[in-house]
Symmetry: C2
């Protein structure tokens, strides 16, 4: 075992990189990247949210959000309407098409993850998820 394999960061990075490469491949027919998929997920969970909301929660710069939403709107996955209560902001919603992409790729995502984590037992997979959630919650 070499020195760099003893770092959690390197190990996490390698596993994540592998997952991401596969997942991004699966997203490419839908012309979005992993970030944009995350945005779709967020909008599904927070209908009528603003670009600012996503920007804050997902820690994406608000100027970057503009181009992400431009892109998703251009593909017909997301709909911008002005928020009647505050006309500075948008009220964002998934379209039916966007919802389809989200669901189909969610299945693909979980399938991809299973493949990468195949060497683990069911117990280990569950432990890994619990451990990650425990760390994430306190971040």
């Amino acid at each position: 075992m070499e020195k760099w394999n003893q770092s959690y960061g390197f190990l996490l990075g390698k596993v994540l990189q592998k997952m991401e490469i596969k997942f991004v491949e699966g997203l490419s027919p839908f012309e979005i990247n992993a970030r944009q998929y995350g945005v779709l997920l967020f909008i599904e969970g927070n209908p009528h949210c603003s670009q600012k909301d996503i920007s804050e929660k997902l820690q994406i710069d608000r100027t970057t959000m503009v181009s992400h939403i431009d892109h998703l709107e251009g593909l017909g996955y997301v709909e911008r309407t002005k928020n009647p209560n505050d006309r500075r902001s948008y009220s964002l919603l998934l379209t039916a098409k966007g919802k389809d992409v989200l669901d189909s790729r969610w299945e693909f995502l979980t399938h991809t993850e299973s493949e990468i984590l195949a060497p683990l037992s069911e117990l280990e997979k569950q432990l890994l998820k619990e451990i990650l959630i425990k760390v994430w919650i306190t971040l």
Copy 2:
């Protein structure tokens, strides 16, 4: 629990991101990024390697390697000498200064990781490492 928290990829990404931000901050006084730290680590473990060797093993494009090594050589962390057996390639070595940076930042890296993983018990930390290694080995 929201949907996106149920993905290993999102959880891994969040934890890694947090580690990386802290680690890169700790590297900044030494004017290198995480990739370049990885290169130093590789050279330590593989003295007299060529740029091509690093490029292949760390999956960094060889043209990108040129600027990384330029940078590390400029800082006096790495020494380029021509390989006498094949004068096309370099024989790369850490300087004493490079070795110092590597060691001091290794301590910092492990300390940073401990901070992020603080919510875990010793057993959980060990399980996490074992699980990650198990997945990584089969990648």
